[in-house]
């Protein structure tokens, strides 16, 4: 019996460290409980509790962690400058795991810890069920990254999207392809709500402009081999491929498209704007375009934020760090303008936001609580890095 236990312990240790331990040291953990390092802490008159709802486990954990980090940097700055309404901004985390069921548990958890407002929302599919919960509980919700058009239809009025919705992106993509002189387009999505929605919007936009969609295909999540799809795309005579899903599989697709002898243009959507796309795709990533959300790297106003992020977390901010940082400031500003933590007042203040200046541009909402102007930019892979295309 004891012997068996020993072997068990041995194996757990072996698995955990021995076999492949040195592939890369894990980055320091999120630093969720780090206190702001200020020499003289300002005096606060109570605290304002805000919920963060992002995935910190599961396949999309990297993005969620990145968003949480950015929110905490913004909060440290706000608190160092005296907080909101003289109160300290504090956070509690709800992990939605990018899964609808976990999302309802996380949203309920935040509501029952009586948060004043919620920041977050990365996966559209795992944000939709939360809309109703926050609406019923009257909690203002600033959606930082999720941007499926479904969110607009399901919004009971308490959510505000600060990332441009899908139709802005479809528009940006169509513009990009027209500039590249493409007329036969192949669309590939990954069979989830977000990427299918974007592919569908792009198809409508592209056909509406009088062009042809020659292939409309799906890659199942987790598959590694796309060679037969590549052959299909090649045989359809497509001049441009638009990948509407995420970076990891996107990199695979780009690689295999080039490997399979495809020579046309490739454009990827915002879920693929991570630098990891270029790292994994290697040489095949050269000349790939991307319709990207406002990534901080390309924003002149964001240099200070980037260095703060670097200093605190010892890594580069990810694609949604900028929006998360902006959203935190937006919410703080709205609470300040509302003059209290009354939910109705905060909601009205958010809705009344008029050209609020942020890193990624100015924020003004339509009556549907969606950004008025598109904030998409076009970037291109060059020399293993993303560069801004004018």
């Amino acid at each position: 019996m004891a012997k068996r236990l020993w072997i068990l312990a041995l194996v757990v240790v072996l698995i955990a460290s021995g076999v492949f331990g040195c592939s890369k040291p894990a980055p320091p953990s999120g630093g969720g409980d780090q206190q702001p390092e200020s020499s003289e802490a300002p005096q606060f008159d109570g605290e304002i509790l805000v919920g963060i709802m992002v995935p910190v486990t599961g396949s999309e954990a990297t993005y969620g962690q990145d968003m949480e980090n950015a929110i905490r940097i913004a909060a440290d700055e706000i608190n160092a400058a005296g907080g909101v309404l003289g109160k300290e901004l504090k956070f509690t985390l709800g992990d939605d795991g990018c899964d609808p069921q976990m999302c309802t548990a996380a949203a309920s958890k935040l509501v029952s810890s009586e948060v004043v407002a919620v920041l977050g929302g990365y996966c559209s599919g795992a944000t939709i069920p939360a809309l109703k919960i926050y609406g019923d509980a009257k909690v203002p919700f600033v959606i930082l990254a999720a941007n499926s058009t479904q969110l607009i239809d399901e919004n009971p009025g308490w959510a505000f999207m600060i990332n441009s919705p899908g139709y802005h992106q479809a528009d940006a993509a169509a513009d990009c392809f027209e500039k590249l002189n493409v007329s036969k387009l192949a669309l590939v999505h990954q069979g989830d709500g977000f990427s299918e929605n974007l592919a569908e919007l792009t198809r409508e936009e592209w056909q509406g402009r009088g062009h042809e969609v020659v292939a409309y295909d799906v890659v199942n999540k987790g598959e590694q081999d796309f060679s037969s799809l590549v052959t299909k795309i090649r045989s359809s005579g497509a001049e441009g491929v638009y990948w509407t899903a995420y970076h990891a599989d996107g990199a695979q697709l780009i690689k295999q498209l080039r490997q399979g002898g495809y020579t046309g243009e490739i454009v990827v959507a915002d879920g693929s704007s991570s630098i990891q796309l270029l790292e994994i795709a290697g040489a095949a990533g050269e000349g790939v375009y991307c319709t990207s959300p406002p990534v901080v790297e390309f924003l002149p106003a964001a240099q200070q934020f980037i260095s703060a992020y670097n200093k605190k977390y010892n890594q580069q901010p990810g694609p949604y760090a900028g929006l998360s940082y902006d959203g935190t400031y937006l919410l703080a500003d709205a609470i300040e303008r509302a003059g209290s933590t009354d939910p109705d007042a905060i909601r009205d203040a958010l809705a009344a936001t008029d050209n609020f200046k942020t890193l990624s541009g100015t924020i003004k909402f339509t009556p549907e609580n969606v950004l008025e102007e598109s904030n998409f930019i076009i970037i291109k892979g060059e020399g293993g890095k993303w560069v801004l295309v004018e």
């Binding site: 910190v56 939709i128 990427s195």
Partner: protein, 338 residues
């Protein structure tokens, strides 16, 4: 051959008895006590009173988790009928509650049918699904059956993802919540009670089934198919019924899930979901109703309790599972063989 194996088995059992520590024996003694009808009913009544009272005292989050527990109790008991009672290994159970959830969702969203009227349709669809999966596969050996059910599960999910009527990858969004006796079901407490009622019903029906003629037929088939056939049991009919009843449990739970979530998408019916349910059934103790309930409780509550440890959560879950199975392979609360 058979004799030799039983002989070996008894030898192993004897060995296992010796190494049992007092703690495990104490738990087992409690189980035996619980099998006494009087004790069981009084314990159950007390538990039910606490459960009914809970929503008045606890937070919304706790209610959400408990509602999820009741949902899992229903689906696990449904799968228990297929796997535990009839001994048919199924790896595609998520397909059954997908059938229920989508039937309800489509009827409410596209045809404006009242939720309560969708339930009989849901049951009907579940019967059809049970027949479709059970029918062609009855002659297969158990492991082949496992892969076929897996295949059916995947086909159901992919069809839901590709068809327009099921809302493709986005799924169905904005399913209207019903009213009950003029009261709108909107709060989590309402769903807590709804799923609690479903769970109690499922437990009751499972007990009745277990002791019924059909239940005894299943048990007989599970132990020895040829002998069962020789005794005049209609093996094909009994197995089909297991699939059908199991699928009805799943579909009803799925229908209620659809109105609770108000949005369903193919991602809620992944293979991993089926595996989690199977895990709950086997972990608790196949074929033993209190065991299955315990298993359902464990798979829902464990990850929630250990949410604090973040990414190590599932790792520890796996390790606990492994250790549990090595030291207690028959499940937490196994069926007693007399």
């Amino acid at each position: 051959m058979k004799d030799k194996q039983t002989c070996l088995q008894t030898a192993v059992d004897k060995k296992a008895k010796k190494v049992n520590n007092p703690f495990v024996e104490l738990i087992d003694r409690f189980y035996v006590l619980f099998d006494n009808k009087k004790v069981r009913y009084s314990v159950l009544a007390a538990a039910l009173a606490v459960l009914l009272y809970l929503p008045m005292r606890t937070s919304m989050y706790f209610m959400e988790v408990m509602t999820n527990v009741w949902f899992h109790v229903v689906v696990c008991l449904g799968l228990n009928i297929i796997v535990g009672f009839a001994g048919l290994l199924s790896l595609g159970y998520a397909a059954f509650f997908a059938v229920g959830a989508y039937t309800t969702g489509i009827l409410i969203l596209h045809y404006g049918v009242s939720f309560w009227l969708t339930l009989p349709v849901s049951v009907l669809m579940a019967i059809i699904a049970g027949l479709a999966i059970g029918g062609p596969t009855l002659k297969l050996r158990s492991d082949y059956l496992a892969i076929v059910t897996l295949g059916f599960g995947e086909i159901t999910r992919l069809a839901a993802r590709n068809l327009d009527i099921t809302g493709r990858a986005t799924g169905l969004v904005g399913i209207e919540r019903p009213t009950l006796f003029g009261m709108a079901m909107v709060k989590i407490n309402h769903f807590y009670y709804a799923f609690l009622v479903l769970a109690v019903l499922a437990i009751f029906i499972s007990y009745r089934l277990q002791d019924s003629r059909l239940g005894r037929a299943w048990k007989c088939i599970r132990e020895d198919e040829d002998a069962a056939e020789a005794m005049g049991i209609n093996v094909v009919a009994a197995r089909l019924l297991a699939f059908i009843i199991g699928s009805v449990f799943g579909a009803l739970a799925g229908s209620f899930m659809a109105i609770k979530m108000t949005a369903i998408s193919p991602e809620s019916f992944l293979f991993t979901q089926s595996v989690m349910i199977l895990l709950a059934v086997v972990l608790g103790g196949m074929g033993k109703i209190p065991g299955v309930v315990l298993g359902a409780l464990a798979v829902v509550v464990f990850p929630e309790v250990f949410r604090g440890i973040g990414k190590y959560r599932m790792l520890i879950f796996g390790a606990v599972l492994l250790v549990l199975m090595i030291y207690r392979p028959q499940g937490l609360w196994p069926e007693r063989h007399t």
